[in-house]
């Protein structure tokens, strides 16, 4: 069964999707709290480099991953702080940071180009791995892949089932109401910027420690650069719902595996590389375009919650807006 090419492809989709899952779920947390961390593309690369270098130097995957998480967290906290403390535009700061981190990673990573890093062992989970199809796809992987699966489930549970999750949603939707209920809005925003940034960092580490163990980033591209933007778009595609976000990630990963199989055939590589971006535009059109609102107008009211959860992508109302406590000068 495990040798079935389809099962193998599915397993590789789940494995290759792991860094994107971690990054996109991280960004979902951050944006749910009302902070847009546009620096993803750069912070993924910088944290990936940190994971690689620290990992090699300490010969420890754990330390490498923690270093990567620290880098991701710091970048996210800078975005949060410049919005909360300095009232700067989150998009502007995030954009600058995305370029800065990217070029910093390329510059600092030059000595590490094509040096093999640590490899993370696979370990299968007993019993679960023997389930047909599901087993080899989900339960015969490495630690980063397991963490990515855990991130999906935990983030969904946290955001929609727990009290702090409820507070998190309210902070992104109507911070004034959260404040009135006795919560410290900005502290919560810092917290989720840190949590989200750490997950992005972990996603970076997953690139250099799991998916590929080699650093390939140059000014002309690499294997990480560009993925941060895809992760950001997937958060929108997923409508800020973790399960939908993860579904989007696996869709993209599947397309890539498919494109990889097509390579060397009749279709030029450049055109294959174009496909995910065209799809990204099309999906953004589908979820944020006017068509969905029209659908909502036609459908009876009791179907609305379902449509909201499945299709609509409406950003948290206070996304990108700094919270100002009334009357506090």
């Amino acid at each position: 069964m495990a040798d079935d090419p389809i099962v193998r492809s599915l397993a590789s989709v789940v494995r290759n999707g792991a860094p994107l899952v971690l990054a996109a779920i991280g960004e979902t947390f951050t944006e749910r709290a009302g902070i847009i961390n546009l620096s993803l593309d750069g912070s993924l690369m910088l944290s990936a480099l940190a994971g690689l270098v620290i990992g090699i130097n300490t010969q420890s995957v754990l330390v490498g991953a923690l270093a990567a998480m620290l880098v991701g967290m710091i970048v996210a906290l800078i975005v949060a702080a410049s919005s909360i403390e300095l009232k700067q535009n989150q998009v502007a700061v995030g954009f600058i940071l995305t370029l800065l981190c990217r070029d910093l990673a390329i510059f600092l990573g030059k000595p590490f180009l094509n040096i093999p890093a640590l490899s993370v062992p696979y370990f299968s989970i007993p019993i679960l791995k023997d389930i047909p199809v599901i087993g080899p796809v989900f339960f015969d992987q490495d630690v980063f892949t397991y963490l990515s699966l855990l991130a999906i489930i935990v983030s969904w549970f946290w955001i929609f089932r727990t009290s702090p999750g409820l507070t998190l949603r309210s902070v992104g939707e109507r911070p004034a109401a959260t404040f009135a209920r006795g919560k410290n809005v900005n502290r919560i925003r810092y917290l989720y910027a840190a949590v989200g940034g750490s997950l992005v960092g972990l996603g970076g580490a997953a690139y250099t420690l799991s998916v590929s163990t080699i650093w390939k980033e140059t000014p002309n591209g690499g294997q990480i650069s560009g993925n941060g933007w895809i992760a950001l778009a997937l958060v929108i595609f997923g409508g800020w719902y973790p399960l939908r976000v993860a579904f989007g990630v696996y869709l993209v990963a599947a397309l890539r595996v498919l494109a990889g199989n097509l390579q060397g055939g009749e279709v030029p590589i450049a055109l294959l590389n174009l496909i995910p971006w065209v799809l990204m535009i099309l999906t953004l059109l589908a979820v944020s375009g006017p068509y969905l609102e029209t659908l909502l107008k036609i459908l009876p009211r009791r179907l609305h919650p379902l449509v909201r959860v499945l299709l609509r992508a409406r950003p948290p109302a206070a996304l990108g807006v700094a919270f100002e406590q009334e009357g506090k000068e």
Binding site: L166, T167, R169, A180, K183
Partner: protein
Amino acid sequence: MDVQISHIVKTFGKVRANDDISMTFQSGHIYAVLGENGAGKSTLMKILSGFQPPDSGQIVLDGQPVVFASPADALRVGIGMLHQDVLDVPGMTVLDNFILARGTHLLPDRHRARVELSQQADKLGFDLNPDAYVDSLTIGERQQLELVRLLSLGAKVLILDEPTTGISTDQKEVLFNSLRRLAHTESVTVILVSHKLEDVNALCDSVVVLRQGQVTGSADMPSPTATLIEMMFGKDLPRSGQRPGKHAHKGLNTVLSVKALSVPGRRVSLKDVYLDVERGEVVGLAGLDGSGQRGLLRACAGLEAPTAGWLYLEGRDVTHLNYHDRVGLGVAYTPAGRLEEGLVAGLTLTEHVALVSDRGTWVHWNAARHEAKDKIEHYSIRGTSESRVETLSGGNQQRALMALLPQNLKLLLLESPTRGLDVESARWVWRQLLARREQGAAIIFISPDLDEIIEYSDRVVVFFGGRATLIDDPSKTSMAELGRLIGGVQS
């Protein structure tokens, strides 16, 4: 719970919003805090409910001095405030809003919360669906949810800021009944902040009046209206009804003709509306918030696409013309949100004048500045030509909006033209509007204030559930009758 506030002072820049205010509220009584806009009511209530700290002064609850760092602090000791703009989370369900920030457990006990919510709602006579999304509720329902939440968290003092704006007569009845019960059987202290004397008359045991940041008097209800007005304004204002003679609809010179118009809406869709409006006529659109009147107004402006029906402007079919094309034909529309939709925050008055003035590739800044200065004088705007509009007061922003309206209008569409304005400013606005009417413009307006509609409209259209009922002579229709129509009660 007895509340005593003494010597509260709060200044914003040079303005003393609260200037040494002291007053006492006793347990089980219903109070009104009256005052015109800018009298300091809202500031005082925000201080009492922990949203703002006072510069100096003291709050004493049942003999204990208290200091609040946040509204949650205030609620912890029993003071809850219902804001005019209800502080809930629209994107979440009623139940989620009820649970939000409640209790310290990681996993909320949804089942218990559901029971608690429905018990509390039942007790107050409210009907709330716990699974509905808050952004699909009416303002009245959102207030009900917030009251339920505050009381279930142990509020013993309830502050309500202008709660009757935008809710139905029925909802108002339900609200007032539950407030009476809370005060008289559960000893809750109720403080109603309002500028509506009818609400105060209907509900309150006593009233405190503020003017320019100071207490100018207090009285036990019932009290003669004239006394209250004198305390509020310092002089006896002339009675309303001063406007010149009503325009009798003759069916001539029709400016706007609405035929079989249907407009889709989020909650309520407007269905099959007919209306003719002629030169020099003022038509008021009454109804609960979200009954379809806004849809009609915006469809007339070209901001909402009708699903069926026709619109004619002086006989010309304009159904498919967009907003800007209709503006070109002499239609004007002013939204309710002056700084959100009406004026461009960040631009100066001169820039506004240049923005709306005649076409041409280049802006002549000197000419624009002169024009702005003329308008500032003519419309008595307190500000300079280089003032950014967001630095103006609400009344002056409304004046600026009036100043920017083009000349020779055929049809003027207004959304809540006097929202948040004090009586003087509101009257000024209507003098301007009536002058436009004398010049031949037809006016259609929406207002949540029934008095305003009755006073200024030649004819009234009442909306309920997307259906429109035309009232040809509002002066012959009683307030009660109108209230019934608005509430959808067949007569």
